[in-house]
Symmetry: C2
Subunit: 209 residues, 2 copies
Amino acid sequence: MKRWELVRSALLNDIDAGVFQDGRLPGDFVLADRFGVNRHTVRNAIKALESEGALRVQHGVGTFVADDFVSHKLNSDPRFTYKLLGQNKSVKREILSINETSVEPDIASHLNLAPSALVTEVRSTSFINDWPLATGTSYYPAARVPGLATAFEGMNSPTAALKRCGIAEYKRKWTRITARRPSPQEAHILRISSSSPVLFETNVDVTPD
Amino acid sequence: MKRWELVRSALLNDIDAGVFQDGRLPGDFVLADRFGVNRHTVRNAIKALESEGALRVQHGVGTFVADDFVSHKLNSDPRFTYKLLGQNKSVKREILSINETSVEPDIASHLNLAPSALVTEVRSTSFINDWPLATGTSYYPAARVPGLATAFEGMNSPTAALKRCGIAEYKRKWTRITARRPSPQEAHILRISSSSPVLFETNVDVTPD
DNA sequence: TAGTGGTCTAGACCACTAA
DNA sequence: TAGTGGTCTAGACCACTAG
Protein backbone atom coordinates (compact mmCIF):
# COMPACT_ATOMS: atom_id res chain seq x y z
CA MET A 1 0.00 0.00 0.00
CA LYS A 2 1.30 3.45 -0.88
CA ARG A 3 2.21 5.81 1.90
CA TRP A 4 -0.32 8.46 1.00
CA GLU A 5 -3.00 5.77 1.11
CA LEU A 6 -1.91 4.82 4.61
CA VAL A 7 -2.12 8.46 5.62
CA ARG A 8 -5.52 8.74 3.99
CA SER A 9 -6.80 5.71 5.91
CA ALA A 10 -5.38 6.99 9.17
CA LEU A 11 -6.98 10.38 8.68
CA LEU A 12 -10.28 8.79 7.76
CA ASN A 13 -10.20 6.73 10.94
CA ASP A 14 -9.41 9.83 12.96
CA ILE A 15 -12.30 11.66 11.34
CA ASP A 16 -14.67 8.81 12.15
CA ALA A 17 -13.33 8.60 15.69
CA GLY A 18 -13.99 12.27 16.17
CA VAL A 19 -10.37 13.09 16.89
CA PHE A 20 -10.72 16.53 15.35
CA GLN A 21 -13.29 17.89 17.78
CA ASP A 22 -13.47 21.37 16.37
CA GLY A 23 -13.37 19.95 12.85
CA ARG A 24 -9.99 21.49 12.18
CA LEU A 25 -7.00 19.42 11.11
CA PRO A 26 -3.43 20.30 12.06
CA GLY A 27 -1.27 21.95 9.42
CA ASP A 28 0.54 20.06 6.69
CA PHE A 29 3.86 20.01 8.47
CA VAL A 30 2.40 18.84 11.77
CA LEU A 31 0.60 15.95 10.09
CA ALA A 32 3.67 15.07 8.05
CA ASP A 33 5.71 14.90 11.21
CA ARG A 34 3.04 12.87 13.00
CA PHE A 35 2.86 10.26 10.25
CA GLY A 36 6.58 10.30 9.57
CA VAL A 37 6.21 11.25 5.93
CA ASN A 38 6.87 14.26 3.80
CA ARG A 39 4.47 17.16 3.67
CA HIS A 40 3.63 16.43 0.03
CA THR A 41 2.62 12.90 0.89
CA VAL A 42 0.16 14.25 3.44
CA ARG A 43 -1.13 16.73 0.91
CA ASN A 44 -1.71 13.89 -1.54
CA ALA A 45 -3.84 12.07 1.04
CA ILE A 46 -5.73 15.26 1.88
CA LYS A 47 -6.36 15.90 -1.79
CA ALA A 48 -7.92 12.46 -2.13
CA LEU A 49 -10.09 12.93 0.93
CA GLU A 50 -11.18 16.33 -0.30
CA SER A 51 -12.25 14.90 -3.64
CA GLU A 52 -14.20 12.24 -1.75
CA GLY A 53 -16.03 14.91 0.17
CA ALA A 54 -14.55 14.03 3.56
CA LEU A 55 -12.44 17.16 3.94
CA ARG A 56 -12.83 20.79 3.04
CA VAL A 57 -9.65 22.72 2.27
CA GLN A 58 -9.50 26.51 2.42
CA HIS A 59 -6.46 28.22 1.02
CA GLY A 60 -4.84 30.40 3.64
CA VAL A 61 -7.19 29.21 6.36
CA GLY A 62 -6.90 25.52 7.04
CA THR A 63 -8.22 22.03 6.42
CA PHE A 64 -11.50 20.93 8.01
CA VAL A 65 -13.71 17.91 8.28
CA ALA A 66 -16.55 18.47 5.85
CA ASP A 67 -19.54 19.77 7.75
CA ASP A 68 -21.87 17.21 6.32
CA PHE A 69 -19.57 14.24 6.74
CA VAL A 70 -20.96 11.92 9.40
CA SER A 71 -20.41 8.25 10.04
CA HIS A 72 -22.84 5.81 11.54
CA LYS A 73 -22.15 2.43 13.07
CA LEU A 74 -25.00 -0.06 13.03
CA ASN A 75 -25.42 -3.73 13.79
CA SER A 76 -28.86 -4.07 12.38
CA ASP A 77 -30.47 -5.72 9.42
CA PRO A 78 -29.02 -4.16 6.29
CA ARG A 79 -32.44 -3.79 4.73
CA PHE A 80 -33.25 -0.91 7.03
CA THR A 81 -34.55 1.11 4.13
CA TYR A 82 -37.42 -1.27 3.72
CA LYS A 83 -38.18 -1.31 7.40
CA LEU A 84 -38.32 2.42 7.68
CA LEU A 85 -41.05 2.65 5.15
CA GLY A 86 -44.73 1.93 5.61
CA GLN A 87 -46.62 -0.64 3.61
CA ASN A 88 -48.14 1.96 1.39
CA LYS A 89 -44.83 2.91 -0.19
CA SER A 90 -43.28 1.10 -3.12
CA VAL A 91 -39.51 0.72 -2.93
CA LYS A 92 -37.30 -0.04 -5.86
CA ARG A 93 -33.59 -0.28 -6.33
CA GLU A 94 -32.00 0.28 -9.68
CA ILE A 95 -28.49 -0.99 -10.37
CA LEU A 96 -26.36 1.63 -12.10
CA SER A 97 -23.22 -0.41 -12.56
CA ILE A 98 -21.44 -3.52 -11.33
CA ASN A 99 -17.67 -3.68 -11.35
CA GLU A 100 -14.99 -5.96 -10.05
CA THR A 101 -12.19 -3.73 -8.86
CA SER A 102 -9.27 -3.89 -6.50
CA VAL A 103 -10.37 -2.94 -3.02
CA GLU A 104 -9.82 0.52 -1.57
CA PRO A 105 -7.57 0.71 1.48
CA ASP A 106 -10.11 1.75 4.09
CA ILE A 107 -12.72 -0.66 2.83
CA ALA A 108 -10.14 -3.44 2.83
CA SER A 109 -9.31 -2.88 6.46
CA HIS A 110 -12.95 -3.14 7.48
CA LEU A 111 -13.48 -6.30 5.44
CA ASN A 112 -10.22 -7.86 6.63
CA LEU A 113 -9.07 -8.25 3.06
CA ALA A 114 -5.62 -8.21 1.57
CA PRO A 115 -4.85 -4.90 -0.17
CA SER A 116 -4.70 -6.72 -3.50
CA ALA A 117 -8.07 -8.45 -3.14
CA LEU A 118 -10.92 -7.94 -5.55
CA VAL A 119 -14.35 -6.68 -4.56
CA THR A 120 -17.61 -6.51 -6.42
CA GLU A 121 -18.69 -2.89 -6.44
CA VAL A 122 -22.39 -2.24 -6.93
CA ARG A 123 -23.60 1.28 -7.55
CA SER A 124 -27.33 1.70 -7.22
CA THR A 125 -30.12 4.19 -6.88
CA SER A 126 -33.06 3.66 -4.57
CA PHE A 127 -36.55 4.84 -5.41
CA ILE A 128 -39.63 5.44 -3.31
CA ASN A 129 -42.85 5.53 -5.29
CA ASP A 130 -40.75 5.80 -8.43
CA TRP A 131 -39.06 8.89 -7.07
CA PRO A 132 -35.28 8.70 -6.66
CA LEU A 133 -34.21 8.80 -3.03
CA ALA A 134 -30.51 8.12 -2.93
CA THR A 135 -27.50 6.78 -4.78
CA GLY A 136 -25.12 4.38 -3.10
CA THR A 137 -22.18 2.04 -3.44
CA SER A 138 -21.89 -1.45 -1.94
CA TYR A 139 -18.83 -3.66 -1.79
CA TYR A 140 -18.81 -7.44 -1.69
CA PRO A 141 -15.60 -9.48 -1.46
CA ALA A 142 -15.31 -11.15 -4.85
CA ALA A 143 -13.56 -14.23 -3.46
CA ARG A 144 -16.41 -14.86 -1.05
CA VAL A 145 -19.20 -14.64 -3.64
CA PRO A 146 -17.63 -15.46 -7.00
CA GLY A 147 -20.75 -15.36 -9.15
CA LEU A 148 -22.25 -12.25 -7.64
CA ALA A 149 -21.79 -9.95 -10.58
CA THR A 150 -23.68 -12.25 -12.91
CA ALA A 151 -26.19 -13.17 -10.22
CA PHE A 152 -27.24 -9.53 -10.14
CA GLU A 153 -28.37 -9.70 -13.75
CA GLY A 154 -31.97 -8.64 -13.87
CA MET A 155 -32.38 -8.95 -10.13
CA ASN A 156 -32.01 -5.36 -8.88
CA SER A 157 -31.95 -6.65 -5.33
CA PRO A 158 -28.76 -7.39 -3.41
CA THR A 159 -30.53 -9.73 -1.01
CA ALA A 160 -31.95 -11.83 -3.82
CA ALA A 161 -28.66 -11.90 -5.70
CA LEU A 162 -26.76 -13.04 -2.64
CA LYS A 163 -29.31 -15.76 -2.00
CA ARG A 164 -28.63 -17.03 -5.51
CA CYS A 165 -24.99 -17.37 -4.49
CA GLY A 166 -25.90 -19.37 -1.43
CA ILE A 167 -25.75 -16.62 1.17
CA ALA A 168 -29.10 -16.41 2.89
CA GLU A 169 -28.12 -14.13 5.72
CA TYR A 170 -25.77 -11.25 6.19
CA LYS A 171 -25.31 -8.34 8.49
CA ARG A 172 -24.50 -4.73 8.07
CA LYS A 173 -21.14 -4.20 9.67
CA TRP A 174 -20.62 -0.63 8.83
CA THR A 175 -22.32 2.24 7.04
CA ARG A 176 -21.11 5.67 6.16
CA ILE A 177 -23.69 8.20 5.19
CA THR A 178 -22.64 11.53 3.78
CA ALA A 179 -24.58 14.45 2.45
CA ARG A 180 -23.15 16.86 -0.07
CA ARG A 181 -23.92 18.96 -3.09
CA PRO A 182 -24.77 16.79 -6.06
CA SER A 183 -22.93 17.04 -9.31
CA PRO A 184 -25.09 18.18 -12.24
CA GLN A 185 -25.36 14.56 -13.35
CA GLU A 186 -26.41 13.38 -9.93
CA ALA A 187 -28.89 16.22 -9.63
CA HIS A 188 -30.38 15.09 -12.90
CA ILE A 189 -30.58 11.46 -11.84
CA LEU A 190 -32.28 12.42 -8.63
CA ARG A 191 -34.44 15.07 -10.28
CA ILE A 192 -33.50 17.75 -7.78
CA SER A 193 -31.88 21.15 -8.03
CA SER A 194 -28.12 21.35 -7.79
CA SER A 195 -28.34 23.18 -4.50
CA SER A 196 -30.17 20.59 -2.44
CA PRO A 197 -27.82 18.02 -0.95
CA VAL A 198 -27.96 14.35 -1.87
CA LEU A 199 -27.61 11.37 0.40
CA PHE A 200 -24.62 9.22 -0.47
CA GLU A 201 -24.48 5.88 1.31
CA THR A 202 -21.57 3.47 1.31
CA ASN A 203 -22.34 0.07 2.80
CA VAL A 204 -20.14 -2.81 3.84
CA ASP A 205 -22.04 -6.03 4.42
CA VAL A 206 -20.57 -9.17 5.98
CA THR A 207 -21.62 -12.77 6.23
CA PRO A 208 -21.91 -14.19 9.77
CA ASP A 209 -18.39 -15.42 10.45
CA MET B 1 -1.61 31.54 -15.15
CA LYS B 2 0.14 28.63 -13.49
CA ARG B 3 2.97 26.93 -15.30
CA TRP B 4 1.32 23.55 -15.51
CA GLU B 5 -1.70 25.24 -17.08
CA LEU B 6 0.55 26.78 -19.71
CA VAL B 7 2.01 23.35 -20.42
CA ARG B 8 -1.47 21.87 -20.55
CA SER B 9 -2.59 24.48 -23.09
CA ALA B 10 0.53 23.99 -25.19
CA LEU B 11 0.07 20.24 -25.24
CA LEU B 12 -3.59 20.62 -26.12
CA ASN B 13 -2.68 22.86 -29.03
CA ASP B 14 -0.10 20.34 -30.19
CA ILE B 15 -2.66 17.56 -29.99
CA ASP B 16 -5.14 19.58 -32.03
CA ALA B 17 -2.44 20.51 -34.53
CA GLY B 18 -1.59 16.85 -34.96
CA VAL B 19 1.99 17.29 -33.83
CA PHE B 20 2.07 13.80 -32.37
CA GLN B 21 1.52 11.92 -35.60
CA ASP B 22 1.84 8.44 -34.16
CA GLY B 23 -0.18 9.51 -31.14
CA ARG B 24 2.78 9.11 -28.84
CA LEU B 25 4.08 11.92 -26.66
CA PRO B 26 7.74 12.31 -25.72
CA GLY B 27 8.80 11.22 -22.26
CA ASP B 28 8.40 13.36 -19.16
CA PHE B 29 11.96 14.62 -19.15
CA VAL B 30 11.94 15.54 -22.82
CA LEU B 31 8.73 17.53 -22.44
CA ALA B 32 10.02 19.17 -19.27
CA ASP B 33 13.14 20.25 -21.12
CA ARG B 34 11.13 21.46 -24.09
CA PHE B 35 8.85 23.63 -21.98
CA GLY B 36 11.62 24.72 -19.63
CA VAL B 37 9.89 23.41 -16.53
CA ASN B 38 10.39 20.61 -14.09
CA ARG B 39 9.28 17.11 -14.87
CA HIS B 40 6.64 17.21 -12.13
CA THR B 41 5.07 20.29 -13.65
CA VAL B 42 4.69 18.46 -16.94
CA ARG B 43 3.24 15.48 -15.13
CA ASN B 44 0.71 17.76 -13.49
CA ALA B 45 -0.42 19.00 -16.89
CA ILE B 46 -0.55 15.47 -18.27
CA LYS B 47 -2.59 14.34 -15.29
CA ALA B 48 -5.14 17.07 -16.00
CA LEU B 49 -5.32 16.18 -19.69
CA GLU B 50 -5.71 12.53 -18.84
CA SER B 51 -8.62 13.26 -16.54
CA GLU B 52 -10.18 15.30 -19.34
CA GLY B 53 -9.93 12.36 -21.68
CA ALA B 54 -7.40 13.94 -24.01
CA LEU B 55 -4.49 11.71 -23.10
CA ARG B 56 -4.06 8.07 -22.21
CA VAL B 57 -1.18 7.21 -19.87
CA GLN B 58 0.25 3.68 -19.62
CA HIS B 59 2.65 2.94 -16.81
CA GLY B 60 5.90 1.63 -18.18
CA VAL B 61 4.85 2.22 -21.77
CA GLY B 62 4.21 5.86 -22.52
CA THR B 63 1.71 8.67 -22.91
CA PHE B 64 -0.58 8.78 -25.91
CA VAL B 65 -3.25 10.96 -27.45
CA ALA B 66 -6.57 9.32 -26.60
CA ASP B 67 -7.74 7.33 -29.62
CA ASP B 68 -11.16 8.92 -29.63
CA PHE B 69 -9.99 12.49 -29.19
CA VAL B 70 -10.67 14.52 -32.32
CA SER B 71 -11.11 18.21 -32.93
CA HIS B 72 -13.24 19.91 -35.52
CA LYS B 73 -13.10 23.44 -36.82
CA LEU B 74 -16.28 24.89 -38.25
CA ASN B 75 -17.44 28.29 -39.40
CA SER B 76 -21.06 27.45 -39.74
CA ASP B 77 -24.22 28.36 -37.96
CA PRO B 78 -23.96 27.11 -34.40
CA ARG B 79 -27.41 25.60 -34.55
CA PHE B 80 -26.16 22.83 -36.78
CA THR B 81 -27.95 20.28 -34.70
CA TYR B 82 -31.26 21.68 -35.75
CA LYS B 83 -30.28 21.84 -39.37
CA LEU B 84 -29.16 18.26 -39.51
CA LEU B 85 -32.52 17.01 -38.45
CA GLY B 86 -35.61 16.62 -40.57
CA GLN B 87 -38.89 18.31 -39.82
CA ASN B 88 -40.37 15.18 -38.37
CA LYS B 89 -38.00 15.11 -35.42
CA SER B 90 -38.56 17.04 -32.22
CA VAL B 91 -35.44 18.59 -30.73
CA LYS B 92 -35.11 19.73 -27.16
CA ARG B 93 -32.30 21.03 -25.07
CA GLU B 94 -32.30 20.71 -21.34
CA ILE B 95 -30.08 22.92 -19.21
CA LEU B 96 -28.26 20.95 -16.53
CA SER B 97 -26.49 23.82 -14.83
CA ILE B 98 -25.37 27.40 -15.31
CA ASN B 99 -22.27 28.71 -13.60
CA GLU B 100 -20.16 31.81 -13.71
CA THR B 101 -16.59 30.67 -13.34
CA SER B 102 -13.15 31.94 -14.12
CA VAL B 103 -12.19 30.97 -17.64
CA GLU B 104 -10.02 27.96 -18.40
CA PRO B 105 -6.70 28.71 -20.04
CA ASP B 106 -7.28 27.11 -23.44
CA ILE B 107 -10.80 28.51 -23.71
CA ALA B 108 -9.48 31.94 -22.74
CA SER B 109 -6.97 31.92 -25.54
CA HIS B 110 -9.62 31.13 -28.12
CA LEU B 111 -11.97 33.80 -26.79
CA ASN B 112 -9.18 36.37 -26.50
CA LEU B 113 -9.96 36.87 -22.85
CA ALA B 114 -7.75 37.76 -19.94
CA PRO B 115 -6.90 34.74 -17.79
CA SER B 116 -8.85 36.27 -14.91
CA ALA B 117 -12.02 36.89 -16.89
CA LEU B 118 -15.34 35.33 -16.01
CA VAL B 119 -17.36 33.17 -18.35
CA THR B 120 -20.87 31.85 -18.16
CA GLU B 121 -20.68 28.07 -18.38
CA VAL B 122 -23.79 26.28 -19.57
CA ARG B 123 -24.01 22.51 -19.33
CA SER B 124 -26.83 21.00 -21.29
CA THR B 125 -28.24 17.81 -22.71
CA SER B 126 -29.82 17.62 -26.15
CA PHE B 127 -32.75 15.35 -26.92
CA ILE B 128 -34.21 14.00 -30.15
CA ASN B 129 -37.76 12.78 -29.85
CA ASP B 130 -37.32 12.89 -26.09
CA TRP B 131 -34.33 10.59 -26.36
CA PRO B 132 -31.05 11.96 -25.01
CA LEU B 133 -28.50 12.51 -27.75
CA ALA B 134 -25.57 14.29 -26.18
CA THR B 135 -24.32 16.32 -23.24
CA GLY B 136 -22.32 19.48 -23.78
CA THR B 137 -20.73 22.55 -22.30
CA SER B 138 -20.87 26.07 -23.73
CA TYR B 139 -18.92 29.13 -22.61
CA TYR B 140 -20.02 32.73 -22.98
CA PRO B 141 -17.87 35.68 -21.89
CA ALA B 142 -19.68 37.08 -18.87
CA ALA B 143 -18.52 40.63 -19.53
CA ARG B 144 -20.02 40.53 -23.02
CA VAL B 145 -23.45 39.28 -21.95
CA PRO B 146 -23.90 40.29 -18.30
CA GLY B 147 -27.44 39.08 -17.78
CA LEU B 148 -27.06 35.78 -19.58
CA ALA B 149 -27.30 33.51 -16.59
CA THR B 150 -30.64 34.92 -15.53
CA ALA B 151 -31.81 35.23 -19.12
CA PHE B 152 -31.52 31.46 -19.40
CA GLU B 153 -34.15 30.99 -16.71
CA GLY B 154 -36.90 28.89 -18.17
CA MET B 155 -35.64 29.32 -21.70
CA ASN B 156 -33.70 26.13 -22.39
CA SER B 157 -32.43 27.68 -25.59
CA PRO B 158 -29.10 29.50 -25.92
CA THR B 159 -30.23 31.37 -29.01
CA ALA B 160 -33.34 32.71 -27.32
CA ALA B 161 -31.45 33.63 -24.16
CA LEU B 162 -28.83 35.52 -26.13
CA LYS B 163 -31.52 37.35 -28.02
CA ARG B 164 -32.90 38.51 -24.69
CA CYS B 165 -29.52 40.02 -23.98
CA GLY B 166 -29.51 41.86 -27.28
CA ILE B 167 -27.37 39.50 -29.32
CA ALA B 168 -29.33 38.38 -32.34
CA GLU B 169 -26.53 36.73 -34.23
CA TYR B 170 -23.46 34.78 -33.38
CA LYS B 171 -21.12 32.36 -35.02
CA ARG B 172 -19.52 29.14 -34.03
CA LYS B 173 -15.82 29.84 -33.87
CA TRP B 174 -14.63 26.54 -32.64
CA THR B 175 -15.96 23.17 -31.64
CA ARG B 176 -14.28 20.23 -30.07
CA ILE B 177 -16.12 16.97 -30.22
CA THR B 178 -14.84 14.00 -28.29
CA ALA B 179 -16.15 10.52 -27.80
CA ARG B 180 -15.38 8.47 -24.76
CA ARG B 181 -16.75 5.92 -22.34
CA PRO B 182 -19.48 7.44 -20.23
CA SER B 183 -19.38 7.44 -16.48
CA PRO B 184 -22.14 5.41 -14.83
CA GLN B 185 -24.01 8.63 -14.18
CA GLU B 186 -23.69 9.78 -17.76
CA ALA B 187 -24.72 6.37 -19.01
CA HIS B 188 -27.83 6.66 -16.89
CA ILE B 189 -28.65 10.15 -18.12
CA LEU B 190 -28.27 9.06 -21.70
CA ARG B 191 -29.98 5.73 -21.10
CA ILE B 192 -27.24 3.69 -22.72
CA SER B 193 -24.94 0.94 -21.57
CA SER B 194 -21.65 1.90 -20.00
CA SER B 195 -19.75 0.42 -22.91
CA SER B 196 -21.15 2.54 -25.72
CA PRO B 197 -19.32 5.84 -26.10
CA VAL B 198 -20.99 9.19 -25.53
CA LEU B 199 -20.61 12.33 -27.56
CA PHE B 200 -19.14 15.20 -25.55
CA GLU B 201 -19.23 18.55 -27.26
CA THR B 202 -17.54 21.73 -26.12
CA ASN B 203 -18.57 24.86 -28.01
CA VAL B 204 -17.16 28.35 -28.15
CA ASP B 205 -19.51 30.86 -29.74
CA VAL B 206 -18.53 34.41 -30.71
CA THR B 207 -20.41 37.53 -31.65
CA PRO B 208 -19.54 39.02 -35.04
CA ASP B 209 -16.65 41.31 -34.19
C1' DT C 1 17.77 -4.75 -19.60
C1' DA C 2 16.48 -0.02 -21.04
C1' DG C 3 12.96 3.21 -20.92
C1' DT C 4 8.73 4.60 -19.35
C1' DG C 5 5.64 6.43 -15.80
C1' DG C 6 4.79 6.51 -10.35
C1' DT C 7 6.01 7.72 -5.66
C1' DC C 8 8.47 10.01 -2.16
C1' DT C 9 11.48 13.28 -0.18
C1' DA C 10 13.43 17.98 0.44
C1' DG C 11 13.27 22.68 0.32
C1' DA C 12 12.14 27.17 -1.68
C1' DC C 13 8.94 30.51 -2.57
C1' DC C 14 4.15 32.22 -3.70
C1' DA C 15 -0.90 33.24 -2.58
C1' DC C 16 -4.44 33.72 0.39
C1' DT C 17 -6.73 34.81 4.93
C1' DA C 18 -7.36 36.65 9.33
C1' DA C 19 -5.81 39.08 13.29
C1' DT D 1 2.08 40.20 9.86
C1' DA D 2 1.92 35.22 10.96
C1' DG D 3 0.14 31.03 9.50
C1' DT D 4 -2.13 28.46 6.29
C1' DG D 5 -2.41 25.97 1.86
C1' DG D 6 -0.53 26.08 -3.33
C1' DT D 7 3.09 25.72 -6.75
C1' DC D 8 7.50 24.66 -8.49
C1' DT D 9 11.96 22.73 -8.53
C1' DA D 10 15.39 18.98 -7.75
C1' DG D 11 16.72 14.48 -7.33
C1' DA D 12 16.33 9.74 -5.73
C1' DC D 13 14.35 5.46 -6.19
C1' DC D 14 10.45 2.22 -7.32
C1' DA D 15 7.15 -0.30 -10.60
C1' DC D 16 5.81 -1.62 -14.86
C1' DT D 17 6.44 -3.01 -19.81
C1' DA D 18 8.63 -4.50 -23.84
C1' DG D 19 12.46 -6.15 -26.43
